[in-house]
């Protein structure tokens, strides 16, 4: 297995297609993600956002198109990426520390301890997952992903099952670790507010294609009370629901974001 790099990676998705039993889930989807960027993918359930993430992770192959990581085409499992699943997927028969050590060389206890300390679970390392709360389990899953120093972190609705307060806490934790380690991050979520709060750009998928590509140029740490913040949330929600924007700020937004888009694409 190739060593996983520490810094972010460019992800270039070109005309990717995926279908299950003649049902087209992804329909020639294009998306460019720059190294170190935090991108959220939103959309109605069944729109193909989780499928896209699984393709980037290499858990499944594309039916058409290609995915390039720093100009190298992805084949098989993506060993530069680590994935965090919605259901945590800790091994219930392994203690917290052993779970984090999974897939690491035998002498990696120290590294695993450091990762667990970073997510604030230093004193739970000898517990079995069944003794942990939902939020703590996802912290362990986060530590398990980060201990590999991935250049790409894939988050498949990891906070979907958590209560509102724990979710805010976890968002803060993920954001701070992302800032500190500078990996590329792709978050699939159904929570538009979460997407706006945490990411540089929100991508909306509909009918297997990118339907909206919305940079969020708000300064960090982001205030949810900021009117611009709720403007973005509402704008994206309108687009998801296929509603006409009730207000007129979509024009302003588009001008502002167009210049941002131009700046990152050139």
């Amino acid at each position: 297995m190739r060593a996983v790099g520490g810094k972010g990676i460019n992800v270039h998705i070109k005309a990717v297609k995926k279908s299950y039993d003649a049902r087209n889930v992804l329909n020639g989807l294009d998306l460019k993600i720059k190294e170190g960027e935090f991108v959220s993918i939103v959309g109605k359930s069944g729109c193909g956002k989780s499928t896209l993430l699984r393709l980037i992770a290499g858990l499944e192959g594309c039916d058409g198109g290609e995915i390039n990581l720093n100009e190298t085409q992805l084949e098989g499992l993506n060993d530069q990426a680590r994935m965090m699943f919605q259901d945590g997927r800790l091994l219930p028969w392994k203690r917290v520390l052993e779970n984090v050590c999974l897939g690491l060389p035998a002498n990696s206890k120290q590294k695993a301890m450091e990762a667990l300390t970073q997510v604030g679970l230093k004193d739970r390392v000898q517990d079995f997952p069944s003794k942990l709360s939902g939020g703590q389990k996802q912290r362990v899953a986060l530590a398990r992903a980060l201990v590999h120093d991935p250049s790409l972190l894939l988050l498949d609705e990891p906070l979907g099952a958590l209560d509102a307060l724990t979710r805010l806490e976890m968002q803060g934790l993920i954001e701070s670790l992302w800032k500190q380690r500078k990996f590329t991050a792709i978050l699939v979520t159904h929570d538009v507010e979460e997407a706006v709060a945490i990411s540089d750009r929100v991508v909306l998928i509909d009918h297997g294609k990118i339907y909206l590509n919305q940079p969020i140029p708000l300064p960090r740490p982001r205030q949810r009370t900021n009117p611009a913040f709720s403007m973005y949330v509402e704008e994206i929600l309108d687009r998801i629901m296929n509603r006409k924007s009730k207000k007129n700020y979509s024009m302003i937004l588009n001008q502002e974001t167009q210049s941002f888009l131009d700046s990152i694409n050139n």
């Binding site: 858990l59 091994l91 028969w93 999974l102 398990r144």
Partner: protein, 256 residues
Amino acid sequence: MKWSVKGKGSLETLLPWFIPLLLIIGWQILSWTGAIPERILPAPSQIVEAAVGLMVTGELYDHISISLSRALVGFLIGGVIGFLFGLFNGIFRFADLFFDTSIQMLRNIPHLALIPLVILWFGIGETSKIFLVALGVLFPVYINTYHGIKSVEKNLIEMGKAYGLKGKALFWHVILPGAMSSILVGIRFSLGVMWLTLIVAETISAQSGIGYMAMNAREFMQMDVIVLSIVIYALFGKLSDVIARYFERKLLKWNS
């Protein structure tokens, strides 16, 4: 405070034995008063006497050790074969297609129905008893191992692969522990089958062992020895259950 906790702990260990103890005391009293005639059921004290007598001559030890070794050897042979088939058929699709149907057909034959055939094949020597025990043990271990491996969560296997596990590592860290609780159910069940098979086989065709001891005693109307044999089977049944539970607690402690 400490005392009451301790008291509660010992009460919990003693309570399950309350009914057996009460039964034995009642049985002894009824025998003394003559309510239970000796030729129907001897008193517990007489059974103990018989046990002591057979222990002194060394006969009891011989019978028990031969029965135990048959049980153990048959269990190991059948268990290992059943486990390996369960493993391979659970993991490899080819093995599954190739073997499973045949095993399912064999499984539905009551193995005790083979006794006449087995006697003709192997005579009444050790082989026939070990063969029958192994055959009886094989299927419950097979079914539960196979089922355990098939029902390991696909999500966890996918996660293991995504985190770089494959082949042996995936088996030891994810698949085997995931199947373990089902495998242990199979082992516990097969321990029961093991005793049952052994009793029947020893009763019908043997020249040693506890089943033989009981059949032999019947010829001489030694009620105490017959009942003693039954009690020994009960004790061994309980013992194997205790051992199985110990392993369950040890291997599945994450589940508690």
